[in-house]
Symmetry: C2
Subunit: 188 residues, 2 copies
C-alpha cells in the first residue's frame, strides 16, 4: 500500500504544515511516511506544493509520482497540477474555475470560504483542506491527525487549527452523504 | 551546483524546522530547493532525518544521495549516517563518541551544550546546528537564514531561535579560525 498526496495552492496558505501533520499522523499509525516541500520557479511564481507519501512498506521515492489525491487551493495550482491527474481524486476549492481538460474525479469544496466565514481566518484553509482530505481518503483515523495538528500548530494557534480541521471533516461528511444520495438515485 | 544536506539527530530535536529554514533561505537567494522529512522505522526508533537539496538548476531527485554536509546531533544518528559519508563534511555534536570507521572530514562542535548552557534551552540545539552548518558551508548568506528562521519560528520563539542561530555562527567562526591557525602551523 502506497498512497500519494499532493497539496497545492499559493505560497502562504500553510500547505507545508498540512503536509507535515498528515505525515506525522501516518507515523502515529505505525506507517512509514515522507513529506517533501519543493521550492522552485513555480514557488517563486506564487504556487506552492507539499507532497506526502504514506506506505506500510519502505518508501524508495519520496515524491508523488501519480498522486492518489490532489488538493488545489488556488486557480494557478489547479491549472498546474489537475490536468495530469489520472485515477486519483481532485479536491479543489469551490472558488476555482474548473477546466474541461481535467478528467479526474473532482470534488469541489468551499474550503477557503469556510475558513473565512466560519472561522474568521482565511489562513486556516490549510487545515480545512487537511480535514477534508483525511475525511475523504480515510488514510489515517481522525484522532491521529488531530494529535499531529495539535503537536505541530504554532504556539497559540492549536485551537483555531483544530476547529478548522473539524470543519474540513464536516465538509467531507457532507460530500459523502451527497454522494450516497446520488448513488441511490442511480441505483433506483 | 547541487548541494546536499542531511540533518540528523533524535526525534524532537527540531531538525525539520532547521531543514525548512535552510531551504527557504536558499529560495530567498533565488535558488531552487527541496526539503524532505522521512519518517520510518528509524524515526520510530528515535532517530530523525531531515534533508535539504539546494541547486541553481532543476532538482530531479529531492533526497540527499551523497550528502555534502551531515549534521549529527545524536550518537545513534552519527552511527547511522556518518560511516557512509564520502567527500562531505560531518558536523557532529561534541557529546557524541566518535567512530574510527568514519573516514569523512569531521568537525565536532558543542552544539547541544551551547544551547543548554548559553541559551538555557537544549531544544535550541537545532538552531545552533543550523548556524554552524551555514557558517561552515556558506551556501546561503547569514541574513537570509536569519530571515527564514524569523519567519518560521513558532510564535513567541523567534528571539530564542535567532540567538541560538547566532551562537551556531559563532561556533563556525571559532572553528574556522582554529583551522587557519592549524594550517599556519603546518606551513611554517
Amino acid at each position: 500500500m502506497r498512497v500519494e498526496f499532493r497539496l497545492s495552492g499559493s505560497g502562504g496558505q500553510g500547505l507545508l504544515l498540512a503536509g507535515i501533520a498528515l505525515a506525522e499522523a501516518a507515523i502515529l499509525e505505525g506507517m512509514n511516511a515522507t513529506q517533501t516541500q519543493s521550492y522552485g520557479p513555480e514557488a517563486r511564481g506564487g504556487s506552492s506544493k507539499s507532497e506526502v507519501v504514506v506506505s506500510d512498506g519502505e518508501i524508495d521515492y519520496p515524491k508523488a509520482v501519480d498522486p492518489d489525491y490532489l488538493v488545489a487551493l488556488s486557480a494557478d495550482a489547479y491549472r498546474l497540477f489537475a490536468p495530469a491527474m489520472g485515477e486519483g481524486l481532485v479536491i479543489v476549492d469551490s472558488s476555482v474555475p474548473r477546466l474541461e481538460e481535467v478528467r479526474a474525479r473532482t470534488v469541489a469544496l468551499p474550503m477557503i470560504e469556510t475558513a473565512s466565514s466560519v472561522l474568521g481566518r482565511s489562513v486556516a484553509a490549510n487545515m480545512v483542506a487537511l480535514g477534508a482530505l483525511v475525511g475523504l481518503s480515510r488514510v489515517v483515523p481522525r484522532g491521529s491527525v488531530e494529535r499531529a495538528v495539535a503537536a505541530r500548530a504554532p504556539e497559540g494557534s492549536a485551537d483555531l487549527n483544530l476547529r478548522a480541521l473539524a470543519e474540513g471533516f464536516r465538509l467531507a461528511e457532507i460530500e459523502a452523504s451527497r454522494k450516497s444520495f446520488r448513488e441511490t438515485d442511480w441505483d433506483e
